[in-house]
């Protein structure tokens, strides 16, 4: 089923506006709050299910829909989608299209953070970022290289986790004092024990196959104060995808991260000693809740020297992640000028000092 949002005043297509947070009609300028819209088909959320993973596969039959063709309700053209697309725009008439079938059952997102940065802002940020790059090739930014700019809701799982950590360590305090002809070193040994119970809230984990995990981790943090219950109109006008990995498959990755957090916390509680030797450390991380959430990301694809580069931007906070092209020439330029400059200054100081100390002027 395809969902398109029509303006109640003029009948044109409406899209989500990141600046107002409302559905907006470009034709007549009508704004409509999203909560008024009827399409609350996402009632099936997973937060009630606690640590029970098994329900996920009940709905695997949805995969059969992958090959199904969708038609634009405006022009009747085929809407080109791949198996994961849940929202897109009609390539013929440009109308925002949300594919409701793929947002149902286990694929119904629980939460969403709507876009807060507009396309224009993202574009401007990209250009600014190009100029600031001190190691990017100089001619890189003179040309407009943006091939495509896409606002995309990337599927994430947010994990509420409980971490328990226990550690036993031998710590020392060292005190040195003189005594007659001797220097005494007094070492006090302590047996230190810590047991911590930590709750982590909504650690995100990227569930899309297409997005690089390391890039996604760098986009964090998202501001959860704007986390909304999922509603389909948020997707209107953007690209959205459904998850490729479910919460069970992703859990090892998030557990590893949480274990590290717990361990770091545990170690940070042992303070005031000169040395610490861990005898025993045990960390256990258990899942409490998961939320299937769509998070906003701006993707800018640009090509430079026959290679495609991707520029990502957190669609909420504006944090930029990208691998800009690296210019060896500019790196050498910097290296040479810094080195020459430093050398000249050092040589000057050295000459002046030696003249001052050993100067024999007649």
């Amino acid at each position: 089923m395809v969902v398109q949002y029509k303006c109640p005043q003029c009948g044109a297509d409406m899209a989500f506006d990141s600046t107002t947070g409302l559905l907006h009609c470009d034709s007549c300028g009508y704004d409509e709050p999203i909560d008024n819209r009827e399409g609350q088909q996402h009632s099936e959320t997973q937060n009630e299910s606690e640590t029970n993973w098994d329900h996920v596969h009940e709905h695997t039959n949805f995969n059969t829909d992958d090959t199904k063709e969708y038609f634009c309700m405006n022009c009747g053209a085929v809407v080109f989608t791949d198996a994961d697309t849940t929202a897109t725009t009609c390539s013929f008439c440009g109308a925002p299209v949300v594919i409701a079938d793929r947002l149902q059952g286990s694929y119904a997102p629980a939460k969403v953070i709507p876009f807060q940065i507009s396309k224009e802002q993202a574009q401007a940020a990209f250009k600014k970022w190009c100029k600031n790059g001190r190691l990017t090739p100089k001619n890189f930014c003179t040309a407009d290289r943006i091939k495509s700019i896409t606002g995309m809701y990337v599927p994430f799982f947010l994990y509420d986790l409980n971490g328990k950590g226990e550690a036993n360590a031998t710590c020392t305090r060292v005190h040195t004092y003189p005594q007659g002809d001797y220097i005494c070193t007094e070492t006090k040994y302590y047996n230190v024990y810590r047991n911590v119970n930590l709750n982590y809230v909504k650690i995100p984990c990227d569930a899309s196959e297409k997005m690089e995990d390391s890039m996604m981790d760098r986009l964090e943090p998202f501001d959860y104060s704007n986390l909304k219950d999922f509603n389909m109109p948020y997707l209107a006008g953007y690209i959205a995808e459904k998850y490729n990995y479910d919460e069970k498959q992703l859990f090892p990755r998030v557990r590893k991260r949480a274990e590290q957090y717990v361990s770091e916390y545990l170690r940070s509680t042992i303070q005031g000693y000169h040395s610490t030797r861990m005898n025993y450390e045990h960390v256990d991380v258990q899942p409490k809740d998961t939320y299937y959430t769509l998070l906003p990301v701006w993707m800018v694809c640009y090509d430079y020297k026959q290679a495609e580069h991707t520029f990502l931007m957190n669609g909420q906070t504006g944090k930029i992640v990208g691998k800009p092209p690296f210019s060896i020439k500019r790196a050498l330029q910097w290296f040479a000028s810094v080195s020459v400059g430093t050398y000249a200054v050092l040589q000057l100081i050295s000459s002046i000092t030696s003249k001052l100390l050993g100067g024999g002027w007649f």
Partner: protein
């Protein structure tokens, strides 16, 4: 097409940067550190004007004057000028003299004038029979008489007065010394004794002070790995420099001191202070540093406080040897270059690191602080261990370490490197 032109551009840029970098490096190096090459001796050339201080007509006139005076005095005058830095001007002159003498260009009687424009130093030095006539103080007088002209940039006048003054000095003492030598009893050369560092023939320092001084000498010697010797004399000396050098040579051959040494001579007869440095000490202490040491010693000696003067000698030598800027890494261009390259490298690394985005979350980002915390903890004291180490002792009874046995060191050659500073007080 595009890539090949880009590559060419990159190559040209790269070579430009490297060229600029190395030329700056070379420039800095040449201007400061490159040592002067020894000059190439030529027959019938008396003026080696590397610094280009004279015009060709001036040079001609001076050469004529030199030839004329030289024939009268049976002595050759040589004028050396240089722009490059010289480690030790005395050695530089001595080396040049040796080459000339070995090549039969010069008979052994010669007086040298070196004008070092790099350090702005003047040195006058006499060899052969001239050395007997021109004592250190005579040379000093000649030097002083021409410094004013040099400071004003009248190099030609300076050299002329050098020649005339030297001529006068050569003429005068010839008769005087032959007459006087019968009346004057010159000081006997000092015989070096093992573990003796103070040869107080004039009796300027009391016994109490001597023991204190010896303590200090031992301490400084050990610290600087260099021997300190104090000589005093009442009797007139034929030549201060030679007197000290003779003592040094004897002491080194008898292995009483190592070849790295500093010697202070207080000549009560002429009221001359002379400080000479040998071996590594002479490399570390430039002439101007020795002058500085001598000046601070002179202040005390002029007041008649000989003990304080010698203490000052030890303290100042210690101070300048410790700094030893000739040895200090900071003054070595290759070290500076290394630092510069290091700074450049670090800058690039930091920039490269900033080039891609970083992870800005940490273990507290997702922590629910209100529902997290320590459930149980204890810090139980177990035991205490105490280790005792004896304090490092300061007075170790060994100065033996500083007496290096210098196997193949030949002293008789006279080619040892030394530098000196002497003057009245």
């Amino acid at each position: 097409m595009n890539t090949s032109t880009d590559l060419k551009k990159l190559r040209s840029h790269l070579s430009l940067f490297l060229a600029v970098f190395f030329s700056v490096f070379l420039l800095c190096t040449i201007s400061n550190q490159v040592k002067a090459d020894t000059m190439v001796p030529k027959e019938d050339q008396y003026i080696y004007d590397d610094a280009d201080l004279f015009t060709s007509s001036e040079e001609e006139k001076l050469t004529k004057q030199i030839i004329q005076t030289g024939q009268e005095q049976d002595c050759t005058f040589l004028i050396l000028t240089t722009n490059d830095s010289i480690d030790d001007s005395t050695t530089y002159i001595e080396d040049f003299y040796d080459t000339l003498y070995n090549d039969d260009i010069l008979n052994k009687n010669a007086v040298f004038l070196l004008i070092d424009m790099d350090d702005r130093l003047v040195e006058v030095r006499a060899f052969g029979d001239c050395e007997d006539h021109l004592s250190d103080s005579d040379c000093e007088d000649i030097r002083l008489s021409i410094t004013d002209n040099l400071s004003d940039g009248n190099y030609y006048d300076a050299v002329q007065s050098f020649i005339t003054n030297s001529q006068e000095a050569l003429l005068a003492p010839l008769d005087d010394s032959s007459k006087d030598s019968n009346d004057i009893t010159y000081a006997e050369p000092i015989v070096p004794q093992k573990n003796q560092f103070i040869y107080d023939i004039s009796g300027l320092i009391t016994k109490n002070q001597t023991t204190k001084l010896i303590e200090q000498i031992k301490e400084v010697s050990k610290k600087q790995n260099c021997n300190f010797v104090i000589l005093t004399t009442d009797d007139p000396l034929r030549d201060t420099t030679r007197y000290i050098h003779d003592f040094y040579n004897a002491a080194v051959t008898q292995k009483v001191i190592s070849k790295d040494a500093m010697i202070l001579l207080i000549d009560m007869n002429e009221r001359i202070i002379s400080i000479k440095s040998f071996g590594t000490c002479s490399q570390k202490l430039s002439f101007s540093l020795l002058e500085k040491i001598r000046n601070s010693v002179r202040e005390e000696l002029s007041n008649g406080d000989y003990y304080k003067g010698t203490v000052e000698f030890l303290n100042q030598s210690d101070r300048y040897l410790t700094f030893a800027y000739a040895d200090n890494l900071f003054f070595k261009p290759w070290f500076l270059m290394l630092i510069a390259l290091g700074v450049g490298g670090v800058t690039i690394l930091v920039m490269g690191y900033q080039h891609s985005a970083r992870i800005t979350t940490n273990d507290h980002t997702y922590l629910d602080e209100s529902r997290s915390g320590i459930v149980a903890r204890h810090d139980n004291y177990v035991r205490t261990t105490v280790t005792r180490v004896r304090k490092p002792q300061e007075n170790h009874n060994s100065s033996s370490g500083s007496f290096g046995s210098s196997g193949g060191h030949s002293v008789s050659s006279g080619g040892h490197s030394s530098s000196g500073s002497s003057g009245h007080f």
